[in-house]
Structure formats: C-alpha cells, structure tokens
C-alpha cells in the first residue's frame, strides 16, 4: 500500500512571539484528492500550508510528504513534490519576463535547456498565458499574474499543489477561469481559501480550522449543512449553497 500524499501527525506550532497557530493537527491527503482548508482569519490556514514545504517546522508532531518526513535533509525532494502558489503573486514573480520566471524553477532543477523550454511552453499553455511570455510580470493584471504564478509552479511538475487564497483579488471572469483550471488538474490539491463557492466547485473534502485546531473534516455537503459549526468558525454557507433546498432532515 502506497504512502499518503500528505500526512500530518499531531502537528503543533507556536510562533516566536508565543502565539500558538497550530494545535495537535492531524490529517492525511490521498493522492489526487482536492481538499479545502477553511476557517476565519487567524485560524492557522497559512501556517499550516507553510509546514508542507518545510518553511515552518513543527515543535511537536511530524509532516510527511509522499512518505518522506519533511526535514532539512529532505527539503529538495519535498519542495519538488509540493508546488506552492503564494497568496500574493507579486511575492512569487521574480524574473524580468514571464518566460524567464516560469523557467526559474526548472532551471534550478538543473534540467537541460530543451526540456526547460518544453516545460515553460506546456505550463504557459495550460494556464492560457502563452501570449504573455515576453511581458514583464509587473505589468500584468491580477488574473494574469495569478495564472503566471501557477504556471511557474506547474513547470516544476509537482505532484501536490498547495494554493493560498488563489481567488483573492480576482474579478469574476478571472476567478471562473481559475476554477475551471483547478478542476482540470489531477494533482493532489490543498487549497486554503475564504472563497467557499470555489470550494464547492473544486474540492471534494473540507478541513475546517478554528484557533489552530481541526474543528471538522468532511465532505462539503456535511460541513456546509452544519450551520452551528460554520458560525462557531466565523464562516457562513456559500452563496451557491444557500439557494439549495435544505436536506430532508432539516425540513419542517
């Protein structure tokens, strides 16, 4: 039996200022799963994501990616396996042209020039940004920057995609394009977001965080029907869910 794509065992993390952001968090993701991490502000979503790439190391517990424990010695294979799309694409886009930026990861992997070109082309094609490759990243619109940031990660061919607030700041059309893109992916996906309608469209499982703990772990149907849970976690039902008829058990 193969190891889970991601496994967190009793992870606890406290920032240097004494604030505990994660408390005894345990869960695992199977290969190809698309999982949302939701919760109010300060619930620990971004802190959780930073553990998957080894940017933060838990004080207690462990993080495994594809059977490898995330540690200093395993950082290179772990970061090749886990592609992380940051909340603000401006933090991620670094080189002077889109083409060079998408090539940044494959170049660091030491791939031959021909394969770099092929990966850059394929990644830009996947996100529909081939026409942008000669443009400087800082001149792109928010939606274009997001697409290029995702292409930069896809070019490294990760098996797991970690996205922090991917729809943040996008207009409806760009958001819809992003949702369609995420639905097409077959990677294992972990998406931290406040966009609960995106969760409905893209994810088959939802982790709810509250004060650094996993408050609920289940299907979107189960989580979004639990109004008390949502209120407790400073959330509400997605707009697309509110228009649905209530489940039989809640009808008069």
């Amino acid at each position: 039996m193969s190891a889970p794509a991601v496994q967190l065992c009793h992870v606890t993390y406290t920032y240097p200022d004494g604030q505990t952001a994660l408390r005894d968090v345990s869960f695992q993701l199977e290969e190809g799963e698309s999982v949302a991490v939701i919760g109010g502000n300060g619930a620990g979503k971004s802190t959780l994501l930073l553990h998957l790439n080894g940017f933060l190391t838990p004080q207690r517990g462990s993080v495994h990616v594809g059977g490898l424990q995330v540690a200093r010695e395993t950082m290179v294979p772990v970061r090749r396996a886990v592609g992380m799309v940051f909340q603000n694409p401006d933090d991620q886009l670094f080189m002077s042209t889109v083409r060079d930026d998408v090539a940044f990861g494959p170049t660091n992997m030491g791939l031959p020039p021909g394969e770099i070109e092929q990966r850059v082309h394929a990644a830009l094609d996947t996100v529909g940004a081939t026409h942008l490759q000669a443009r400087p990243p800082h001149r792109l619109s928010g939606g274009e920057k997001r697409s290029v940031a995702i292409a930069g990660v896809l070019a490294m061919s990760p098996s797991i995609l970690v996205l922090d607030e991917p729809s943040d700041g996008l207009d409806p059309a760009a958001r819809r394009r992003l949702i369609n893109l995420l639905r097409r992916f077959t990677h294992t996906r972990l998406i931290a977001t406040h966009d609960l309608d995106l969760v409905l469209d893209v994810c088959s499982r939802v982790l709810v965080l509250r004060q650094g703990q996993v408050e609920a772990d289940g299907s979107p149907e189960v989580v979004f029907n639990d109004v008390a849970l949502l209120q407790r976690c400073q959330l509400e039902q997605p707009l697309g869910w509110q228009s649905r008829p209530p489940p039989p058990c809640q009808r008069g």
């Binding site: 290179v76 940051f86 933090d91 400087p136 990660v153």
Partner: protein, 286 residues
C-alpha cells in the same frame, strides 16, 4: 474643483511625489524590459557589449578635468547603443536626469573653489571651476547613458551572465540581481506607504516624526515582504545561486564590435576631433 458633501470644495489628494516615485520605478522597469525585445544588438555576446561599454567609460573618465569639447564625440556611443538597441532616448534621458543630483553634488563646489578665468566664451570670461563642473556633468551624462543603454539593450540577468563568464565571482552577480529585485520591492512598499500617508494627511510633505515612523514601518514591512519573496524562490528550488538562463558563445562579430569600439574610443581619446574639425574649417574659409 468638485464640491464636497457639505458643499465645501474638496481638494484632490496630492499624489505628485507618489506618482514621481512610481514613474521612476516604471521607467527603470521598462528599461530592463526593453532588453527582451529583439534588436540589432541581440546577436552579440553580452561580454562584447560589456567590454565595449567598459572601454568607453575608461576612455571618457581618463580625460583631464577641464576637457569638455574633446568629450563631445563620445556622445556617439550612447546614441549608437540606443539606436541599435531600439531604446527610447527619452527613457534614458529621464533616468539620467533622475540620477543627476548626485553629479551636481560632486561638482557644485568647483566654481567656488576654482575661480581663475580659464577661457573666454564670446567675450565672457569663464572660470576653471565652471568648466570642470561642466566636464563632470558631461562625463556623468555620457557614462550613465551608456550604462543605461547597456542595461536596456542587454538586460541585467544577461549582463550578470556575461560578467560571470568574464570571471566576476557569482556572489557579486547574484547580489546585483537580488539588489535590483529587492529595490523594486522596497520602492513598491515605499510608494504605497507614501500614498496612504498623503490620502489621510492631505499634504505631500512629511513631518520629521511621521517620517521616522514611516521609515521604521518601511523597514519592517520590507523585511516581511523580502522573506515572502525568498520563500517563494526557495519553493521553486532556489539554493542561493541563480542558474544561468542563456549561454552565449563568442563569435567573430563580437570581436569586430569590440575592436571597432576600442578603435573609435582610442581615436577620440588621442585626437581632439572637434578642435581639429574647427581648425580644418577655419583653414578652409581663411
């Protein structure tokens, strides 16, 4: 001026300083971005372009302090660089102006310290201080426009790759690239903070206390931002070394370009071409 809610005139928020900073930032970006466009210089090895520019700079700064007329032929180099690279002269001139206060500060005291008349210009005596000040400004404009032309025609990543091939340690070229990127991050943060200040303060000038507070916040925010940028780079395999994206090979045309530049600079350095031209013209009409 449009009326406010109570019929009072509402002054538009002053954004001159912010837009000035933003414009400079965009101009710098656009110069670097110009390098991605194909031009007549594209086929040349970056090392040839770097060495040609270096030859030009050495020739320009090697003149004695009162040289003005002899420097004029050197304007051909940045002009040719801009023409061949398809670079907007206006963008380069704007950047030269942005950096000009530095040159002015270097030479501003020359007219006060060196007051002896050096030449007579249309009947007006001109002191050596003014001539040397003019020479400093001219040299500054020539060398800075040449470097800007090099950046705009080649791009910093390619220049750094060329410098590495010339033997410059990678740690220096990496510093240049990271400094450029972080400078953009820093300027972006400063621009946003300045705008936020002006929108609530209603004035463009900063009080000393506010200035200190803004600087402190700028440092902290920049550190946070730089850390996020670094994490994003690490997430894509960055291990402290920027891999070279394009490798170039020295060819015959690169030798020709460099030889032409050395010859041109050597000629303009050894012969005062404007003076010789003047003598020739005077002899022609005498």
């Amino acid at each position: 001026m449009p009326g406010g809610r109570c019929g009072l005139p509402v002054a538009p928020p002053s954004v001159h300083a912010v837009s000035g900073m933003g414009d400079s930032l965009h101009a710098l970006h656009s110069l670097d971005a110009m390098a991605s466009r194909p031009s007549a210089l594209t086929p040349f090895d970056p090392r040839a372009r770097i060495l040609a520019t270096l030859t030009f700079i050495v020739a320009v700064v090697s003149f004695e302090r009162y040289a003005v007329l002899a420097l004029l032929p050197f304007a051909a180099f940045p002009l040719a660089l801009c023409a061949a690279g398809g670079i907007s002269l206006r963008s380069v001139a704007r950047q030269v102006l942005v950096a000009s206060p530095f040159a002015i500060m270097v030479g501003i005291f020359n007219p006060l310290l060196d007051t002896a008349p050096l030449l007579n210009l249309l009947g007006v005596p001109v002191s050596g201080g003014w001539v040397s000040f003019g020479s400093i400004l001219l040299r500054f404009a020539l060398t800075v426009s040449a470097v800007l032309g090099l950046v705009a025609s080649t791009g910093l990543p390619t220049i750094c790759a060329g410098l590495e091939q010339l033997g410059v340690p990678r740690v220096f070229t990496l510093q240049i690239l990271l400094m450029q990127r972080y400078a953009v991050v820093l300027a972006g943060e400063a621009s946003r903070m300045r705008m936020a200040h002006e929108l609530r303060a209603g004035v463009t000038t900063l009080r000393l206390a506010t200035y200190a507070s803004l600087l402190g916040h700028l440092l902290l925010r920049s550190l946070d931002r730089a850390q996020r940028v670094h994490q994003a780079m690490q997430a894509r395999g960055f291990d402290g070394q920027l891999q070279r994206l394009r490798c170039a090979a020295w060819q015959g045309r690169d030798s020709v370009l460099l030889a032409a530049c050395i010859f041109g600079c050597g000629l303009a350095r050894s012969i005062n071409l404007p003076r010789e031209l003047g003598h020739w013209l005077l002899g022609l009409f005498a």
